[in-house]
């Protein structure tokens, strides 16, 4: 019998193998994760809802199926869902008091698929309300603390999922990435975060933030784990007309492939004076590892980079203001006066950008700017296969350090928002630590539907470095 501690430090792959080989049961796996949540969540605040009873019931069912040698992709695996994923019969708040009492009547498509693959939902995770934030500090249910240093932010908005996976409270945490919200907590918590291509995973049943940039992904301990989850969630959904009909490749097979000869672009705009030296150094070291594996490093330029954030800010807040207008407190949820400060500010920004007299200057100009940014990337992908750059310009910061100034907080997204503007996939992977043991992430971006290629590069890098073996030491 393996003890709880060992079960919660397993990767998804190891857990699946252990279940298959009867080293432990799904009930034991779920129980060990729930007991860890009970021990540390009071402090870390990663979960807003815990589904203990239902999870244990599902685990008993899973064990019966495992005994019959069933081979579902995630059978018996405890996962955590970001609370802007709509779950049938389980409160789904988006961490906003507006939805404090909302119990959905249906499951998001991605949840239907995860459940069908045998995954077990152990709880719903905290976030910046509605997904509005880069640090986790805008939740109406309190801050999530970074497992690596409780005085620092986890990154957001998928703050709870980042902390939960990092702290061994779940094997997978789901997320949404509208301007960086999966990659940012992944980088600050030493886990892998995938923002898939826009439309690769269905948005149906995910509480909308900015409909033209919302990307539905997940946070995991390793690259293989991420590939396994995407192979379950990806694919066309008739309920979301923006999902692509492109075939879902065999990610697990492709990621083992050779990477020698691949060209990796290093955009100079991401390594300029605004980027902390420690972060840039970690990324350069990671690139050296890839060069040693036979990749060719190519210096490139994405000339419109400095406009990507303001263009994103206008498009995102415009769509936020439109999406949040549906909350009227009549059919579900509470009245509009329950919106928090950050939601109100974004609604105001977006409404202004779209309003008569300003729409040409802001909204339409940004949609044109978006075309120019997409062209930058397309030009770059003629020269290189993937682009590598930091996820954040700086290390995990302390609470309130940036939250006091909205503009300063918004500029945290400068390196992540471009992939949302362009729609391209991006994968954040651990790239080491600062001297004070604060995690650093590097992201790999590629053309639309190149998740398989990103996995291949990241997997090769991960096999050389294995940063995921480093775990935070938690205090109660």
């Amino acid at each position: 019998m393996i003890n709880n501690m060992e079960l919660t430090s397993l990767t998804l792959k190891e857990a699946l193998e252990g279940l298959e080989n009867k080293k432990f049961s799904s009930v034991e796996l779920v129980k060990s994760h729930i007991s860890r949540i009970k021990k540390f969540n009071k402090k870390i605040n990663a979960f807003v809802t815990i589904c203990e009873e239902e999870a244990l019931k599902q685990a008993r069912e899973a064990d019966k199926l495992i005994a019959k040698k069933a081979k579902n992709a995630l059978l018996g695996i405890p996962i955590a869902l970001k609370d802007n994923w709509v779950t049938k019969g389980v409160k789904s708040t988006a961490a906003s008091k507006v939805l404090d009492n909302y119990v959905p009547q249906y499951d998001a498509t991605a949840i239907v698929r995860l459940k069908a693959a045998g995954a077990i939902i152990i709880g719903k995770t905290n976030l910046d309300a509605w997904g509005h934030g880069s640090s986790g500090e805008h939740s109406d249910y309190g801050n999530t603390l970074n497992p690596w240093d409780y005085s620092r932010v986890t990154g957001g908005s998928s703050s709870g999922s980042g902390a939960a996976v990092s702290a061994g409270m779940a094997l997978v945490g789901t997320g949404t990435d509208t301007g960086g919200s999966i990659r940012q907590p992944a980088a600050f918590c030493n886990v892998v975060g995938l923002k898939p291509t826009y439309g690769r995973v269905s948005r149906y049943g995910i509480i909308a933030m900015a409909s033209s940039t919302d990307s539905i992904g997940h946070l995991t301990k390793t690259v293989w784990d991420s590939a396994r989850v995407l192979s379950v969630t990806a694919g066309f959904d008739p309920m979301d007309a923006t999902t692509g009909k492109n075939e879902v490749p065999d990610y697990e097979e492709i990621l083992r492939g050779k990477i020698s000869g691949l060209k990796i672009g290093i955009p100079k705009e991401y390594f300029g004076k605004g980027t902390d030296e420690i972060v840039a150094d970690a990324c350069h070291k990671a690139l050296k590892v890839l060069e040693d594996l036979g990749c060719k490093l190519v210096n490139i330029s994405l000339p419109h980079t400095k406009y990507a954030y303001p263009v994103y800010a206008v498009i995102q807040t415009s769509e936020v203001s439109s999406n949040l207008l549906r909350y009227d407190g009549v059919r579900y949820g509470n009245e509009r006066k329950m919106f928090g400060d950050e939601a109100k500010r974004r609604i105001m920004m977006g409404t202004h950008s779209l309003s008569s007299g300003y729409a040409d200057k802001y909204y339409h100009q940004s949609l044109k700017g978006r075309t120019l940014i997409i062209r930058d990337f397309m030009e770059a992908y003629k020269k290189v296969d993937v682009i590598a750059c930091p996820v954040w310009p700086f290390l995990p910061f302390k609470f309130d350090e940036r939250a006091i100034d909205p503009l300063k907080m918004y500029l945290s997204d400068v390196f992540t928002a471009p992939a949302n503007v362009s729609g391209n996939p991006s994968l954040s992977v651990p790239a080491g630590f600062s001297r004070d043991k604060l995690p650093i992430g590097i992201q790999f971006m590629g053309p639309n539907y190149s998740e398989d290629l990103l996995y291949k590069v990241a997997y090769a890098y991960e096999q050389e470095t294995k940063w995921y073996l480093e775990k935070p030491k938690l205090k109660e």
């Binding site: 009492n101 406009y307 800010a313 109100k344 100009q365 949609l367 044109k368």
Partner: protein
């Protein structure tokens, strides 16, 4: 000298009205100041050369997605389910505030 974004309290009231938000006077003042700073920063997009550039509203260029005009009964909520989250309901209807 750089032209600054001008936003009056009246502008802020107008925006809040369009957005169906009720703001306190303190909030009006705060957002006026914050929006001014944020749009000062955003104003740099006016330097983008976009005269002959088309707009992108959707990043993967999928167009004309149609479906059969058929009802999918598996996606229909019962009246009871549809009303399950309503704060006020009467005789199977949502109760709303009078418009006129």
């Amino acid at each position: 000298m750089k032209k600054k974004t001008l936003l009056s309290v009246e502008n802020v009231e107008h925006i809040a009205d369009l957005a169906k938000l009720t703001l306190t006077q303190d909030e009006q003042k705060k957002y006026k100041e914050q929006l001014r700073r944020i749009f000062d920063y955003i104003d740099q997009i006016s330097k983008l050369k976009t005269k002959k550039v088309i707009e992108t509203s959707h990043p993967t260029n999928i167009t004309n997605i149609f479906r059969e005009d058929k009802i999918d009964e598996s996606k229909i909520l019962t009246q009871e389910e549809a009303l399950s989250n309503a704060v006020k309901k009467k005789n199977g209807y949502f109760v709303v505030k009078a418009i006129f």
